[in-house]
């Protein structure tokens, strides 16, 4: 079980969301908003929290097979040590790992550490063939047998036509960047 989210920081900063109180009120709790205001780079903190919510939402939606929803306030974040964010949806708790560079912020939520993950961050242009290629190489599957599909809840997976099995993958794109993450098979 995985969920990820990437933010193109140049594009995100151009929207000046930290100055948009109405947006912030719809998305962030009082504690989260206080945190945004208390940091030196409010924009970065805001997008760090946003991406953590998004990545967690994707994981949570997949885990419980939920209909798509837009309710970021229901997902509570709290920043922990070493770029780890603790996130709660109702009574479910998740950890989000974040990688921040000068160009992008990448967040990844996972259920537990019992499996190995493969992740790749791309610069656009990229398309689903690239995702399938990475998946086939990482898992030693024949590329021709793989296809990307989304179920009725719009949750993506990779289908292997030989074994007739679906394998989870989380995909995200924003501005100049895209990223995928999937558990390695047999890990």
């Amino acid at each position: 079980m995985i969920g990820n989210d990437i933010i193109d920081l140049e594009l995100a900063y151009s929207e000046k969301k930290s100055e948009n109180q109405r947006f912030r009120k719809k998305v962030f709790s009082k504690a989260e908003n206080d945190l945004i205001d208390s940091t030196l780079n409010s924009e970065l903190t805001l997008w760090h929290l946003w991406a953590s919510k998004e990545a967690t939402y994707k994981l949570h939606q997949r885990k419980f097979q939920l209909e798509p929803k837009l309710n970021p306030l229901r997902i509570e974040c709290c920043l922990g040590k070493s770029q780890r964010v603790q996130v709660a949806i109702k009574n479910e708790y998740y950890s989000v790992y974040t990688k921040i560079t000068s160009k992008y912020l990448y967040a990844e939520a996972r259920l537990n550490k019992s499996y190995e993950l493969f992740r790749e961050i791309y610069k656009q242009p990229v398309n689903y063939h690239d995702y399938l290629k990475n998946f086939s190489e990482a898992n030693n599957f024949k590329l021709d047998n793989l296809s990307l599909k989304k179920d009725q809840l719009n949750i993506p997976s990779i289908f292997n036509s030989i074994s007739e099995k679906n394998f989870p993958i989380s995909i995200t794109h924003h501005g100049k960047f895209a990223a995928i993450v999937f558990p390695l098979i047999n890990s």
């Binding site: 947006f23 719809k26 998305v27 946003w50 837009l70 970021p72 719009n154 924003h174």
Partner: protein, 82 residues
């Protein structure tokens, strides 16, 4: 307010956030903001704010949660205008 009027105003609101232009060609109540128009979630919050301004209504979080298609948005707008 007619349905057609609401839909045309909605179309105008979402257009700057749309990443899949083909989705706008057949803009109807079944059009999904995320699947058909590929509006990202942060921009979907912007759409909600723009709808509030355009129709002078307030969309609470419970309503926002279910605003996934053009038809959902229309229903919420009509409800709030009552």
């Amino acid at each position: 307010m007619s349905d057609i009027n609401i839909l045309s105003r909605l179309k105008k609101i979402v257009t700057p956030y749309v990443q899949r232009e083909e989705g706008l060609e057949n803009f109807n109540e079944a059009t999904s903001f995320i699947n058909d128009l590929e509006i990202n979630s942060a921009n979907l919050v912007d759409v909600v704010l723009d709808v509030e301004d355009e129709f002078d209504i307030e969309i609470d979080n419970d309503s926002m949660e279910g605003m996934l298609t053009v038809g959902d948005a229309k229903t919420i707008i009509l409800q709030k205008l009552k």
